[in-house]
Symmetry: C2
Subunit: 256 residues, 2 copies
């Protein structure tokens, strides 16, 4: 349910009510009636599920311009909370539907958003069965793509705890993996909320780059051009961190 765009949707201007939420405050409670959807205006929000044993599973992060709460049918299966202080616009589903039927283009966008959010959750599921390092790199790739237009640094508004709850890891493990990547010269941990990419994607063989592309995107690149563009993007640059892991092996096996 998330848009890549970095700013609120102009089409939604004037709809619904925008209101601020303090860090850690609850925006949607589990089992709330699902008659509204939400757009992040500023700050960062997550959807999550509280488990009976006290743990928290974060299902997704949402940034400025992202919509969430769309997937729910009658009641929300996931709650939502503010990761940082945030402004969130609340829109009645009715209003959204009206907009969608008036604006065919917009309906398409909504559909695409839903599909993308679902795909992201599917991906996450698969990665949750991988090693801590793979999960962290996967996370960095996602954040590079979504929060960091600047190519060389990734901004992480959430805490280590939040990252851990997303990836199913303890904060100590998150910290150690970051340190390990730094020790190997791949990244630089620049304060709590910034990761600087230090790796150089240009010395990767085409074969490896292909394997990484496929592992991250779940498909082959369609053209040589697409692969090159991707290599130069923030996402691509972050993805080359996978070169440090066993991912090339999967690629080899997949080819045979």
């Amino acid at each position: 349910m998330s848009i890549q765009a970095q700013s609120p949707d102009p089409l939604l201007q004037g709809l619904g009510i925008t209101r601020p939420y303090r860090r850690r405050s609850e925006i949607i409670r589990e089992d709330d009636a699902a008659n509204r959807v939400y757009e992040v205006i500023s700050g960062t929000v997550c959807t999550c599920k509280m488990l009976r044993d006290g743990r928290r599973q974060i299902a997704g992060f949402y940034f400025s311009g992202d919509l969430f709460g769309l997937e729910a049918a009658r009641t929300h299966a996931l709650s939502a909370q503010a990761i940082t202080d945030a402004e969130v616009r609340t829109i009645k589903k009715q209003a959204l539907n009206a907009l969608a039927s008036a604006h065919g283009d917009f309906a398409d966008r909504l559909l695409a958003l839903t599909a993308r959010d679902l795909a992201r959750k599917q991906d996450l599921m698969l990665f949750l069965s991988r090693s801590a390092q793979d999960r962290i790199i996967y996370f960095l790739v996602e954040m590079a793509r979504r929060t960091s237009p600047k190519e060389d640094s990734i901004s992480l508004p959430m805490s280590r705890q939040d990252i851990g709850d997303y990836l199913g890891l303890k904060i100590e493990t998150v910290s150690r993996v970051f340190w390990d990547l730094e020790r190997r010269g791949a990244i630089e941990v620049a304060g709590r909320h910034t990761i600087v990419l230090r790796n150089d994607p240009t010395n990767l063989s085409a074969k490896r780059l292909m394997a990484i592309f496929e592992a991250v995107k779940g498909r082959q690149p369609q053209t040589e051009q697409e692969l090159e563009t991707w290599r130069a993007s923030a996402e691509g640059k972050a993805a080359t961190l996978f070169d440090l892991t066993t991912i090339s092996i999967w690629g080899e096996r997949a080819r045979s």
Copy 2:
């Protein structure tokens, strides 16, 4: 997409083509067009996803009377294979839809099946983050309910490998957990394909029973009566295996 009934649906008699599949043979290939659904007449079938690294994730088991392949939209995201020699009836979706519109009752049943199958997958996801023992017991509870009208023994047509691929465990671990439960007097492993329940649910406190009910079913029992009936059922009896684990703790915490 699975029916609890133990025998093929009379309404589907005469529809589609029934044909035998040898153990391990493929019934649906991933990315096949999804214009048919399937009913298990005899034997056991599973749906699964092959991962790039060679592992297999089993998404669900289907027994006599169960339907599978319903969830797919345009192409199947999951493949299906025979776990044992099996007979499977293949039905065109068209025919099924015709039946559904002629028979309002049947349409309802289809919907309920879909919902139940989805819920089962959701449950599985949550249990995949638990300990090996919890996963095995969860599996036994599911099998008790679905394959074993007889109260005291659970029939497991699938191999240890299949169980492992379902629960994300290695076969050695599956074997060891079974042995551990047996050592503790809770079950008896009677040959490869049978588990005999040896535990006595009558000495559980009402409080614990409630906690287990809630952990397994995801909700509180609605009446005293419901809890009692459940305790006596195969599912309930198997579920008391959870008494051996930390589940009571979750219950306590949830209550506070």
